[in-house]
Amino acid sequence: MTAIVWQRRRATAGATWREFASQRSGLVGLVGLAVIGVLAVLAPFVTDQSGLDVTRLTASPWEPPSSSNWLGTDHNGRSVLLLTWWGTRISLVVGLAATVLSVLIGTVVGITAAHFGGWVSAVLMRFTDFFLVLPSLVLAIALSTVLPRGLGTIVLAIGVTSWPATARLVRAQTLAVEARPFIERARALGGGHGHVIGRHVLPAVLPLVFVNTTLTVASAIVAESTLSFLGLGDPTRVSWGSLLHAANMHGAVSQRAWWFLIPPGLGVVCVVLAFTLCGRALETVLNPRLKGER
């Protein structure tokens, strides 16, 4: 890489950032994400993990919010604030890991289908369409029921069911890029499949994939909370979904324990909204078709 290339890239990145920063909703989302991320990372350092252990409790069950327990206690007497705080970690980790898996499958399938064309494309797209119409929650439930319970299973179940939309998007973008003359030039100069995909197609497709990723994280986190709510999560760890599962199982609604119900759900809503706001702002910046719209 020559210096001039890097200079140009820095200039593009700067322009992209300035355009992103000019959208208030995107900035709000980004700040929200930063705050939530810092809280999740700091949890083991600023809070006492022993409060999650049901055998070492000082408070009684179903205590409403008070000065000692700001958000009250759950059916065991654990602090809801502490549980929700720790739940952030699992919800974020599962959401991000599932998204990485989903985007990876989607990108590979999409680029392969568009680049090689012919029967490869026909088979892959038929496969994608099949998964696209399959109700993803139903498939995710089936997968996480038959596989052993754990974080890996839930990541796999969400990742394997949420990639088709990405695959279609990547395929469309790859087709658009490959129709342009510089790809023909690269081929004429002797560039193989690896070179064309790696040096020309991927850099052009990645911005769109990145936008898609931020939007996928949002739905992956909702999917995680739904699966955990149905009792399919990792039973040894606290996540927002598993908290709501416990709340439902132990009758938090009939106990009128609003302090146990509201915080975990609010956590999901905040993270999902933050990712969605970021994603929509990025989309406006990186997708030239949308400029001036909305």
Binding site: F130, L134, P135, I141, A142, T145, N248, L261, G265, T276
Partner: protein
């Protein structure tokens, strides 16, 4: 037209066959020997195990099992539920109607509400009511369905029943039964509407926005048509087309919604049956609900495609 129809229906049949095969892979191949799971923690002799395997048909090689499974599935036989000890298809047949009642009512109301708000929003783009309704739709989209359900149930207190479909002591005449079911359906229905309508609103709004700068609207205005006539007669019918397909394509979302909403409100439909099956786990039952729910969504998608061709003359001609 006939060729297209045959192609679509053929494709859907292949997809349905895929679903059935996926059911075999998920519930017979991945979990391993069901007999081990069924007899875990009980003293059983080798003979008993062999007999149980022979009765369930799992002593044969996998390919033979697959053929057996496929022929049974084509006859609509998905085996016997472990928990209920009744044929899976009988259970599904019973639980289907409450789900159709709930999701049907909720979808119709959500479509009407979503389209109406979407049209209003797009026509007065950027106005305060547009910003509020779009923002509210986004916020509701971010909410997990089941959480919203629990909040609604918490907020309304004793106003509505907390679960089930009818009280056991309601008089058996039609009117009081219907009123009782309607009373039980208010909260689950509201929850489903709140989660689903946002999609319709956003789709309708953006497809109407795409029509806003079309030349034919300028022509219509130049003719001197009133603003609401331009909207009703010219813009909306064109913008409605993509929305109609999306209503059907989002049925997967409705199915997901049904599973969580029915779990929260103990509504005795297919969603609750799925939940009961996964807590067991009752694999034959879960297999049955998996195939039926996935099959229903695939079938509805074919309908959406055909409907689109009937509605849109441009697609019909090509």
């Amino acid at each position: 037209m006939i060729r297209h129809l045959a192609g679509k229906v053929g494709g859907a049949l292949v997809s349905l066959l895929f679903v059935v095969a996926l059911g075999f892979l998920l519930f017979r191949v991945i979990p391993g020997d069901p007999v081990v799971a069924m007899t875990r923690g009980r003293p059983v002799t080798g003979d008993q195990l062999a007999e149980l395997r022979a009765r369930l048909g799992v002593d044969k090689p996998l390919d033979e099992q697959f053929v057996d499974y496929l022929t049974a599935a084509l006859r609509g036989d998905f085996g016997t539920s472990y928990v209920y000890s009744r044929p899976v298809m009988e259970l599904i047949g019973e639980r289907m109607w409450p789900t159709i009642l709930l999701t049907g009512t909720a979808t119709v109301l959500a479509v009407v509400l979503g389209l109406w708000l979407g049209i209003r929003g797009a026509w007065r783009r950027g106005s305060r009511s547009d910003r509020i309704s779009t923002g509210a739709a986004l916020a509701q989209w971010a909410m997990p369905t089941f959480w919203l359900g629990m909040l609604l149930s918490l907020a309304t207190g004793d106003l509505f029943p907390s679960g089930g479909m009818r009280y056991p002591d309601t008089p058996p005449d039609f009117l009081s039964q219907a009123l009782d079911v309607a009373h039980h359906m208010v909260l689950p229905c509201l929850t489903m509407i709140a989660v689903v309508y946002a999609q319709y609103l956003l789709v309708m709004r953006s497809s109407l926005l795409e029509e806003m700068h079309a030349d034919y609207l300028t022509t219509a205005r130049a003719k001197g048509l009133r603003d609401d006539l331009v909207r009703r007669r010219h813009a909306v019918p064109n913008a409605l087309l993509p929305t109609v397909t999306l209503v059907f394509l989002h049925l997967g979302l409705v199915v997901s919604g049904a599973i969580t909403v029915e779990t929260v409100f103990s509504w005795p439909g297919l969603g609750l049956l799925t939940y009961e099956a996964l807590t067991g786990p009752d694999l034959p039952l879960l297999q049955g609900t998996f195939v039926v729910l996935a099959g229903a969504v695939i079938t509805m998608n074919v309908f959406a495609d055909l409907l689109y061709r009937v509605l849109d003359p441009r697609v019909r001609a090509s």
